[in-house]
Symmetry: C2
DNA sequence: ACTGTAATTGAAACTCATTCTCATTTAGAA
DNA sequence: TTCTAAATGAGAATGAGTTTCAATTACAGT
């Protein structure tokens, strides 16, 4: 976890008149401790296990805060809970989700992005965000199935 | 609502050993009474208003049944409830969703579909389903905003 | 048409993720 | 150090959807 990033987070808190609390810093660090996708409860339980417990409410509240400030993004992986990922190294990308083992493959594609813009123009639509998710079977699961 | 379609539904029920009940037929007709996207509770309340009340549980159960048999598909429009649409006239398509007025524009695009397949091949991934949703502002809302 | 029975239904209880409430604590400005 | 608005934690509340189960019903077999 990049040191300057933590500073950037602290700056964000400061310039928005929000308090720089232990709970927020711990959650921030937890979120940036891996580059996997995660949900709120995963963070909650990882933190308790590591004896850095904060309340569920605070986890949810802080994740919202991180999303609003671009440190984390919400990811749709077809699950019943909202999933997240930190925005450390990754540029904008989409996901392939294996419906058998849950493996997630990330990709980004210029052709698709460009085509989306064309479509929006055609419909006089101003795009702000998009979400492409492809469900299927990863190589291993396909082989395993036979 | 096409007559042969109702027959097709009845056939499906029959060949799957399921009973052809009034509740199921009413829900089926309600679902095919418009081509808008809808959620379970919309169906539930429309039916009560029209004095064709069935229980919420039956609405949910029947919608699942309709999805499993291809009469209805689940649609992600970024809402907190699951949305559906009947599969009457539409081929497979994606959605532009106006985040201001809720307007939904449908589109389908060969280039994107083809590109998705290429990407899946590259990752040795066997796609079964996908979902593309573009959020933004429709023409009217953009103008209205200024 | 009548029966028997397994499928279906409705009502209400339940689940589970997330949000809200509110009394208590605390960061940080003065 | 003091003061106060912001933040926190515990648990209650919410809301979509699912499950349970006793009562009803479609319909296959007679
Ligand atoms: Mn990702
Ligand atoms: Mn549609
Ligand atoms: Zn897999
Ligand atoms: Zn609009």
């Amino acid at each position: 976890m990049d040191k300057t990033l933590l500073e950037k987070f602290k700056d964000t808190l400061h310039t928005n008149g929000m308090k720089c609390t232990p709970a927020r810093l711990l959650i921030f660090k937890e979120v940036y401790s891996s580059s996997e996708h995660f949900d709120a409860d995963e963070i909650y339980f990882r933190m308790r296990r590591e004896k850095k417990a904060v309340s569920r409410a605070t986890v949810y509240r802080t994740l919202d805060l991180l999303v609003e400030n671009g440190f984390v993004s919400r990811v749709n992986v077809g699950a019943s809970q909202v999933h997240f990922e930190n925005t450390l190294a990754q540029e904008h990308h989409e996901h392939l989700v294996c419906t058998q083992c849950g493996k997630i493959i990330e990709f980004s594609d210029k052709v698709i992005e460009k085509q989306q813009n064309l479509i929006c123009e055609e419909h006089d639509f101003f795009p702000t965000k998009h979400n492409l998710i492809i469900f299927g079977l990863c190589d291993k699961c396909r082989k395993r199935n036979n």
